[in-house]
Assembly symmetry: C2
Homo-oligomer: 334 residues x 2
DNA sequence: GTGAAAGCGCTAACAG
DNA sequence: CTGTTAGCGCTTTCAC
C-alpha cells in the first residue's frame, strides 16, 4: 500500500507537506504543490480513510437514514437518494446507507463509533422517537420532514400548507367555486402525520380566504373506499366541480370512480393531485410536485453548512410548484 | 469520548483484553468477559471505526454500486437494496452507497482509500468497463448480473435462460402450441445486454425442445411500438395463443394492444411476463419473478464468504420462479 | 488466561 | 513556506 510517507519521500518533502497539499489548510508554494501532486498521481496515492478519520475526527461520510415502511413511493425515494448522493459527492463526501429498521439503536451505534460526520433522516413524522436522540448526538443532523418541535434541529420539507393552498388557488383561478378534498386514509390523520394535516389545513384556509365552499374526506387505498369517499363528497356538495387529492395510493382510482359516477375529467370535474411527479405525469394529472431532488440537495447543503460551523435556519420550507396537465380545465359555465 | 482505555481502566484489565472480548479472537475467562461487558455497557462504549480500520485493515463496510440509468425499475431496485443492507447488518457490516455515475474513478477512490472491505455491483452488463478494474482491486467484489467472462469474479444472477424456458414450459403445459415472444427494444439487444439475450435464447431453445412454434420481436417502450409489434407477431403467426413478454416498460401496453386487436386475455391469448413481482401483481399477470430480495441476500452472503477466505463459485444462478395469475389459461380448444 | 507495547497512516500543533 | 513529531484509538504480536 502506498502511504503519505512514500509520497513525501518521492517528492522530497515532509509528510505534513503532502497532507497540507491535500487539505489546503496552509499555503504551499506552487512548485512544491505541483511536485507533490505529480508524485501523488504517479504513485496512485489515496489517503487511508480510517487513518484520516482517526487523526482528524472527520470521516467525510454522511449517514442517510431511509424510511422503508410500506406506502412510501419508491421512485420518489430513489430520486431523493440519488440527489443526496450526488450533492454529497460534490462536497467530497460519501453516503452510508441506514435503513430505519435499526431504529435509535442503529443511530447510537453509527454515531458512537464515529462512522459518519452527520445524519440525514428522511420522512420524519411529528412524534418520531429518534428525534430526541438526534438532539443529543455530537454529530449534526438534518431532517427531511417536520417533527413537532423544530427548535435545536435542522429540517427541510415541502411547504405542505402552501401546497394545499396552491391547489385551491389554481382551481379558484379557473373559476371553480365548490371544491372537494380527498385526503389520506383516516388512520394517517389519527397517527398525527404532519404533512397530511398541514396540506389539509392549507387547503381549508385557502378556500376560506377565497370564499370557496370546501368539503373534505379521507380515503383508504382501495377502489371501494375511494369510490365511496368520492360519492360521499359529491353527495355532500352536489355543485362540486373540482377535487384536490392528497393520497398517492388513491390517485389511481379517482378517475375511475368519477367515471362511474358520471363525471368526466376535466370537463365535469377538475382534479389536482399532491404527489410525486412521475405519478402525475403517468396519470396526466395537474399536480403540486413533491420535489424529491430539491429536498435531497438542500438537505445535504444544510448538513454541510452545519459541519462547517455555519449557522442555518431550523426550518427550510420549499415552495410548492404546480404543474398544469390534462386534468384541470376552467369551470364549466352553465 | 469513551475509549478502549477507559473501559480497560473501569474493568481493571488491559486494553488488549477489552479488544479480545470484543473480537473473540482469543479465549477470555467468563468472569473477565462479563466484567468487561458490564463496563462497556455502563460507559456506553463504541469502538472508533476509523481506529479499528487503521489497526485491523477491516472496515466492516461494503460498497453498493447502483445503476441509475433510466429504465431500471426503481421499486425492484429498492427491494434489492434493502435486502442487501439487511443481510449486511446480520454480518455486522454497513453499506456505503455509490451511484454508478462515478464510474471506474469512484471505485478506484473508494478502494484506494480503504473505505470498504468489498464491492457489490448491480446490473452488470456483458461488456461493463468497470469489470476489468474490479479484478485488479485488492478488495473482493460480487457482481449482480453477468459479464461476458466470469473467470476470477463472483457473480449472482437470475438464470434468465431458464426463465425464458420456464415461460414456455408453463404455456406448453397449458396446451399452447404457437407462442410469441415480445422482447426488449432492439437497441438493448444491439447493446449486448446479457439478460435480454439469454432470456430470448432460453425461450427459443425451450420452444424447440417442446416442438412448439415460436416467433419473436423486439418492442420499444411506447404504445405505438408495442401495438405494432404485437400486430406483427399475430400476422406472422395467426394461430398464436400465448405471448411471453420480457420488457417491463411494454407490459403496460400489451393488454391494451391485444384488446385493440380483438384478443381477450386470457381467453384468446395467454400472457406471461418476466418482470418484477409488484408490476405483475398490479397487472394480474402470470410471471417469472425477478428475485430482488434473494439476489441482494445472496450477493452479500457471497461477499462475506469471500472476505472470510472461503471459496465461492464464480457464478451463482438463481432458479426462476413462475407465479400463476389471471393472465394465463389453458389453450382454447377449437 | 492476561498484559505491555509497537505500530496502523494520517493530521495538526509546534518550531523554525 | 516547510519540517519534526506527538498523538488519534485500536489490534496484535510478543512475553509471561
Amino acid at each position: 500500500m502506498v502511504t503519505i510517507a512514500d509520497v513525501a519521500r518521492h517528492a522530497g518533502v515532509a509528510p505534513s507537506t503532502v497532507s497540507y497539499v491535500l487539505t489546503g489548510k496552509r499555503s504551499i508554494s506552487p512548485q512544491t504543490r505541483s511536485k507533490v501532486r505529480e508524485s501523488i498521481r504517479l504513485l496512485g496515492y489515496h489517503p487511508h480513510a480510517g487513518a484520516r478519520a482517526l487523526a482528524s475526527s472527520r470521516t467525510n461520510v454522511v449517514a442517510l437514514v431511509l424510511p422503508l415502511r410500506p406506502g412510501v413511493h419508491l421512485p420518489a425515494l430513489m430520486r431523493f437518494v440519488t440527489a443526496a448522493a450526488t450533492t454529497a459527492r460534490k462536497h467530497e463526501m460519501d453516503v452510508l446507507l441506514m435503513t430505519a429498521d435499526e431504529g435509535a439503536q442503529g443511530l447510537r451505534r453509527v454515531a458512537g463509533s464515529a462512522q459518519v460526520d452527520g445524519f440525514l433522516m428522511m420522512d420524519v413524522e411529528l412524534d418520531d422517537d429518534r428525534v430526541p436522540l438526534l438532539r443529543q448526538l455530537p454529530q449534526p443532523s438534518v431532517l427531511i420532514g417536520r417533527p413537532a418541535a423544530v427548535a435545536g434541529l435542522t429540517c427541510v420539507d415541502l411547504d405542505f400548507e402552501a401546497a394545499g393552498g396552491r391547489c385551491v388557488d389554481h382551481l379558484a383561478d379557473l373559476g371553480h367555486r365548490y371544491i372537494g378534498f380527498l385526503g389520506a386514509p383516516s388512520v394517517v390523520y389519527q397517527r398525527n402525520t404532519g404533512s397530511a394535516q398541514r396540506a389539509m389545513a392549507g387547503f381549508g384556509a385557502a378556500a376560506m380566504r377565497r370564499g370557496i365552499a370546501s368539503t373534505a374526506l379521507p380515503a383508504d387505498d382501495d377502489y371501494e373506499s375511494v369510490l365511496h369517499s368520492v360519492r360521499a363528497l359529491l353527495r355532500a356538495q352536489p355543485a362540486m366541480t373540482a377535487l384536490v387529492v392528497h393520497n398517492e395510493a388513491a390517485l389511481g382510482w379517482v378517475a375511475g370512480s368519477l367515471r362511474v359516477l358520471g363525471r368526466r375529467v376535466p370537463e365535469d370535474m377538475a382534479v389536482v393531485g399532491i404527489c410525486p411527479d412521475d405519478l402525475a405525469e403517468q396519470l396526466q394529472l395537474t399536480s403540486v410536485q413533491l420535489p424529491a431532488e430539491e429536498l435531497g440537495h438542500q438537505a445535504v447543503e444544510l448538513l454541510v453548512a452545519r459541519l462547517n460551523g455555519q449557522p442555518v435556519p431550523p426550518l427550510t420550507l420549499l415552495a410548492p410548484k404546480l404543474i398544469g396537465r390534462a386534468s384541470t380545465a376552467p369551470r364549466p359555465r352553465g
